[in-house]
């Protein structure tokens, strides 16, 4: 036999691998975010809004690249995680955000949110939300200017009509005021909220499209249904307890964007199945408490950032190991 035909390599089993790779998962998330992004462009005008999205993604990717240089690691730009962070950040920003602020937010998200902890997989907080929280605290004026849909049509956006988000109308003026804006009909209000024809962040308004994308991600087994289901379900039930309209509560604010795309971030969510359900429920409780008693009308962002701190706790809800009657108690993980 020809000796040249044999050149054996020995590795440990298994010798075959699943097709799933980090870049493929991130690409899946990017594709899933496309409908909400396009809806944002549709409602808030292509000109300035598209600029916000592009600046955010580009800044995030550049920040990632620079971080790889500074921290002297292998370039991780190609795993697309920075692009996902950039897009997620853009979708949580007001459509009228100035470009320089978006760029600062993206840099903070990647460097303070992710790289000082060691890069992908090591960040205890959701990087996009770290960026947004930074902007929220630093430039609250810019972060609370909300554009009425279909008014920010030209570039630069001089003619945009500003308004308040449904949640802030409730906070400041009460539910009946809000209802009056929709001709007093709850059905019309629900419909507008569900379609996304209300003021809000670029990607958070269209609940319908977020729901479709979220279900697609669950079907593709990229995210676990327990976090969004626990989160949204708890907000629904608890809002009713606090005498808030439950349907309005789940349709308004950044709940769907947060539940499907932010709370499910791999490195800042629990790895244990049971823990993920309780994590989702805790997020829901915290969000309703913030909305009801907090100074700010919205509660999703800070709920997620706060619950991120408790992920190690949820990771102690150990699954039962085959052959043991009850989960082993452990203290030192």
């Amino acid at each position: 036999m020809d000796e040249n035909l044999v050149d054996l390599v020995v590795t440990s089993s298994p010798h075959i691998r699943d097709k799933a790779k980090v870049p493929l998962i991130m690409r899946g998330v990017l594709i899933a975010l496309m409908p909400a992004t396009i809806a944002g462009l549709y409602f808030f005008g292509v000109g300035h809004t598209l600029g916000v999205i592009i600046v955010s993604i580009l800044s995030a990717v550049v920040a990632e690249y620079l971080s790889c240089l500074i921290f002297r690691t292998k370039a991780t730009v190609y795993d697309l995680s920075a692009a996902v962070t950039g897009l997620l950040l853009a979708l949580t920003l007001p459509p009228s955000s100035p470009y320089w602020m978006v760029a600062v937010g993206a840099f903070v998200a990647i460097i303070l949110g992710k790289w000082i902890f060691g890069g992908i997989g090591s960040n205890p907080f959701n990087p996009a939300l770290v960026g947004r929280a930074f902007l929220m605290i630093s430039w609250p004026t810019y972060m609370t200017i909300w554009v009425k849909p279909f008014t920010q049509s030209v570039f630069p956006p001089t003619n945009a009509i500003t308004t308040a988000t449904p949640l802030s109308i409730i906070k400041l003026r009460g539910f009946s005021e809000l209802l009056a804006m929709f001709d007093g009909s709850r059905l019309i209000m629900y419909k507008s909220l569900f379609i996304g024809n209300v003021a809000g962040s670029i990607g958070e308004t269209s609940v319908l499209l977020l729901l479709i994308s979220g279900i697609a991600l669950i079907a593709k087994k990229i995210i676990d249904w327990r976090i969004p289901a626990g989160f949204i379900g708890t907000v629904f039930v608890l809002s009713a307890v606090f005498n808030r309209d439950p349907i309005f509560s789940i349709l308004s604010g950044g709940l769907f964007l947060g539940a499907f795309f932010m709370a499910t971030d791999y490195s800042s969510s629990p790895i244990i199945v049971k823990g993920r359900l309780w994590y989702g429920i805790s997020l829901g409780v915290l969000t309703v408490i913030f909305r009801q008693f907090g100074a700010s009308p919205e509660g999703v962002m800070f709920s997620i950032l706060i619950m991120n701190c408790f992920v190690p706790f949820f990771d102690k809800m150990l699954p039962r190991v085959y052959g043991y009657l009850a989960p082993k108690r452990r203290t030192n993980i």
Partner: protein, 477 residues
């Protein structure tokens, strides 16, 4: 037919069972056979022939007087030309008997078989299985006679014939079921007689439904109402002993214990066929069905191959390679062992030999990406472990933590590495941790024993000294 499955974890890799429809073809016996002297788990055999001896097929060439052992037989007739170290599929070199074939195909004459199952005793049957060198042919190679002799206080309730064959590529068990359903049921009846088990269950994955139908027909035809054929979902690792017991019996084998704790014995269908041949035909385990498959072999198929045939022979006899051979795997792609040489030979535990080119190397890159905590390994682990945490602990050399994380319960099925999107070597590291823990435990036991000995010795000395002193006092007093 009822359908069962285990719930926790499990994956479904691409099946690639392309040799499904090719029946067993006997391969010409090799000109030179390299037969490893020990092909089982347990005490190693010693050679009982000398260089220069003439041996016949079925003659015992290696055995040892120990409980956990199985003899090895000559698989061709001819002259023993050497007894030396040769490569073994587990990656080591073991003493092997090299026999030069005289192509006379002479068999030994004193092979014992039984007349009927009713007229023979349990001890006779076990002795017969032991003498024929039967071991678990699914890959574990545990001596079958030992498996069938549980401690007196354990009651065996059910024998499960394992026809799941969940590994991709492999079709050996499937072909055995399609071609020898009669012998499988015979083997099952022998085992049930030995262990006094009341039930027999044949478990087959749903992608081999035709085999299940065939076996059920056979059972019905013979009027055996204590044997049931069931389907199990096509899911890896359905054929794992623990998973199969959970699926079929809804019971869990207690951690670090054997299946007989729950009154069950799981036996591969190929082993059952070999038992039937050993008991009723007197045939020792000298050949076995092997799936030859993969992208780099010209004629994939199922072959009946004499034990001791080298891979070099197999490549030549099956028409050669199609491309550069980069990976040679003994067993399936999930749990099989990559070989470093083609000089290695077929043993009793070789269920398949897979030949791959460059493309499989690309599938298992050596450089890992960072763990992104996606928890796919946790979600899909069939045992309920957390491979990523065990991996982290192993990397920072925290063996104690890997032990608290139940690394010793790992069945090494390979699912965690398979699903990892960062292509991290999870199975490898969990296996490393497991082996290190087991080694430490052994050392700990040896240490304890040594301490006990020293303590006993010191006490004895002290006693003696005291006695001497007493005597002295007596003399003085």
């Amino acid at each position: 037919m009822k359908e069962f499955t285990f719930k926790t974890g499990g994956v479904h890799p691409e099946e690639n069972k392309m040799t499904k429809d090719s029946p067993f073809v006997p391969l010409t016996p090799p000109a030179v056979a390299v037969i490893p002297l020990s092909q089982h788990i347990g005490a190693p055999n010693t050679p009982i022939i000398k260089v220069g001896d003439h041996v016949k097929i079925g003659q015992v060439i290696g055995s040892v007087n120990a409980f956990v052992s199985a003899p090895v037989h000559a698989t061709i007739s001819g002259e023993v030309v050497a007894i030396e170290l040769r490569p073994f599929p587990l990656g080591t070199k073991v003493p092997s008997v090299i026999i030069k074939n005289d192509f006379k195909e002479e068999w030994v004459s004193d092979l014992k078989s039984i007349e009927s199952l009713e007229s023979s005793s349990k001890e006779d049957l076990i002795k017969n299985i032991r003498d024929k060198g039967i071991v678990g042919m699914g890959g574990a190679t545990f001596p079958t006679a030992v498996k069938l002799s549980p401690p007196k206080d354990k009651v065996i309730d059910v024998i499960i014939a394992n026809g799941a064959e969940c590994e991709p590529y492999l079709t050996t068990d499937y072909r055995v079921m399609m071609e020898y359903p009669e012998k499988i049921i015979n083997g099952l009846l022998v085992e049930m007689k030995i262990t006094e088990a009341k039930h027999g269950i044949v478990a087959i994955e749903t992608n081999k439904k035709d085999a299940a139908v065939l076996l059920e027909e056979n059972v019905k035809k013979r009027g055996l109402d204590n044997i049931e054929v069931v389907l199990v979902k096509t899911k890896y690792p359905q054929g794992g002993e623990k998973q199969l017991i959970k699926a079929v019996l809804r019971k869990e084998v207690p951690a670090e214990k054997l299946p007989l704790e729950v009154g069950a014995i799981v036996q591969n269908v190929g082993t059952l066929k070999a038992i039937s041949e050993a008991v009723f035909e007197g045939k020792p385990l000298i050949e076995r069905g092997v799936t030859i498959s993969g992208s780099a072999i010209k004629k994939p198929g199922n072959y009946t191959i004499r034990i001791g045939t080298t891979v070099t022979d197999i490549i030549q006899q099956t028409g050669g390679l199609t491309k550069k051979l980069r990976k040679l795997i003994f067993g399936g792609p999930m749990m099989g062992i990559a070989q470093s040489t083609i000089e290695v030979s077929v043993t009793k535990g070789t269920s398949g030999i897979l030949f791959f080119g460059e493309e499989v190397l690309e599938m298992t890159p050596q450089d890992e990406m960072s763990c992104i905590r996606c928890s796919r390994c946790v979600d899909w682990c069939p045992i309920g472990l957390m491979p990523l945490l065990i991996d982290h602990a192993w990397r920072r050399d925290d063996i104690k933590l890997t032990e608290t994380l139940n690394a010793t319960d790992c069945i090494e099925c390979g699912v965690c590495s398979y699903v990892c999107p960062s292509k991290r070597h999870l199975t490898e590291n969990v296996r490393n941790a497991k082996q290190k823990i087991l080694k430490q435990r052994k050392i700990e036991i040896a240490k304890q024993a040594a301490f006990e000995k020293i303590k006993a010795f010191k006490e004895k000395k002290a006693q003696e000294a005291k006695e001497k002193l007493d005597e002295g006092e007596k003399v003085n007093g």
